[in-house]
Structures are given as C-alpha cells and as structure tokens.
Symmetry: C2
Subunit: 167 residues, 2 copies
C-alpha cells in the first residue's frame, strides 16, 4: 500500500505569509470557502493552477505524481466540492469530458479548436451585458449565458493547409 508521503504538507508549515488570501495561498482559499483543507484538495488546486482547463482524468494524472495513492473518485469529489463552493467552474464542451477551470466570477467564454480540442479563454464579446440578454427571453428569467466559439487554432490551420496542399 502506498504511504501518503504528501500528508505532511500541513497548513501550518507552508511558507506563505499569513493573512495573504490571494490566489496563491491555496489552503486559505479552500478554508475560506468553508471546506476542510486536505492534501488531495491542495493537490487538485495546484494542478489546476498549472493548466487553465483540465478534465478530471488529467487532474488525476497530475495529482498522482505529487500525491500518489489519490483515487480518481477523490478527484471527482474534490472537483464537485470546489464547484459547489464556487472555487472552480465546470464547463462541458460538446463531445468531450467536463473541463474545470479556476477562473470564476467573470463573464468569460471559450474558444475551442475543432482539430485538437485545445481551449482558449476569450473575454465577453461586447463588454459584459449584451451577451446575457437574448432577443426574446420567452418569459424566462435568464441567469447566465454560455458562449462557445468553435474554430481552428493556428497550429491546426497550418496542418489543414499542409494536408490540403498534399492532395
């Protein structure tokens, strides 16, 4: 059985200045969200800081390096708790597994490459409000607007042009 070497990453031994609840003091971020600070949670939050958009599986792979023995279900549990607490946002692009991102609270959208499926954040189309109001809301009380742009990233454009040239 794998010993949990990462468990000795206690919150009172981190080198961050006290009182700094900025985006780097992950323990404080978690605690301030009303959640218990645990090794898997710190590991997931750290991994998420390294990749802007990641699947549960990808995070599991990354976490497994720094904290071997962590289960995939734990990662799902952590992500679920984080999402509920508003610490991360979950997006679900058509045709792929859910992606998690730390950027929350702002009204940003996504640009996804149909070739390599890479995801890029884009600021809200025209300022902030416009894309939140459909032309006819049919009596709905609209809470959020989700915008996903699909296209080809520079790399895949180059690839497509090259293979078109080969014909």
């Amino acid at each position: 059985m794998a010993t949990r070497e990462g468990t000795d990453t206690e919150h009172h031994s981190h080198g961050l200045r006290e009182g700094d609840h900025g985006s780097d003091d992950f323990a404080a971020v978690i605690r301030d969200a009303g959640l218990k600070v645990t090794a898997p949670r710190l590991a997931v939050l750290t991994s998420l800081a390294a990749s802007a958009h990641a699947t549960a599986e990808q995070l599991f792979d990354t976490v497994s390096v720094s904290l071997p023995g962590t289960s995939l279900q734990a990662v799902y549990g952590v992500l679920g708790a984080f999402t509920t607490a508003g610490l991360v946002r979950r997006i679900e692009p058509a045709g792929s597994a859910a992606l998690f991102e730390r950027r929350v609270g702002d009204n940003h959208h996504h640009l996804i490459c149909t070739g390599c499926r890479s995801v890029t954040d884009v600021e809200c189309v025209v300022g902030e409000a416009p894309c939140l109001t459909p032309s006819d809301a049919a009596g709905f009380v609209v809470q959020t607007a989700e915008v996903t742009f699909w296209g080809l990233c520079p790399d895949c454009q180059a690839g497509a042009a090259a293979s078109a040239h080969d014909l």
Copy 2:
C-alpha cells in the same frame, strides 16, 4: 418477436404531392440528402417534426409507437446519418443527453430552464454576425458560435415563488 407492421409505409403510397420538396415531404428530404429512404428514417423525421428538441431515447419511444421493432441503435444510426447530412443539428447541453433538432442552417440559440430542462429556441442575439466574433480570436479561424442561455421558465418561476412562500 415483433412483426414489422409499419413497414408497409412505402414512399410511393404517401399522400403528398410530387415535386414538393418542402419540409413536409420527408421522403424527398431524406432522398435529397443522398440517403436511402427507410421506414425508421421517416419515423424519426416525423417524430422530430412533432418535438423541436428531443433526445435519441425520446425519439426511440415515439418511433416505437408508429414503427414497433425499431431498435434504439437504429435511431442513433439515423440521427448520426441525418446529422452528417446536415438534416438535423445535434446540441449537447451540459448535464443532459444530446438533443436533436430539425432547425438547421440559421444561427439560432437556446434557452434552457435550469428547473425543468425545457428548451426554447431564441433568435441570434443581435442580428446574425456579432455573436460570431469573439473580441480576441487568438489566431483562431472561428467557424461557429454556440450560445446557451440558462434561466428559469415561467412555470418554474411560479413553482420557485410558491415554495419560497412556504418557508
């Protein structure tokens, strides 16, 4: 074993006027898309005309009434072929199964109730082009923009107000 009583719905016995390739002559629509006209395909297209947004499972249920013996996989096959041919559009709202709709080619979006998950079409936010252009495309060649509005439909608003009153 279920006998295919619906199979005698041949294309040469329908009551539609010849040459009318409008949205009602399903056989012609299918044929014009370069696909073979089969009973399951006609049934799916008919079901889809009755409900603007349906899952494969829902269509399977409807089709099973008019054409017993049709398999769920056949429905998936039909929907796949239709989607590839551009006859239907597939949307995948977060947290639910894929929905299929006959409205294709126009740039319309969706308004989904977070309460009952009912889906309503909405016209493009501001005319047609604006929502197709992100503020910064990061070098991407943008092909489409997908907009999903999330909110509460009139019915669920009433329900929410009522239960809030009960507290």
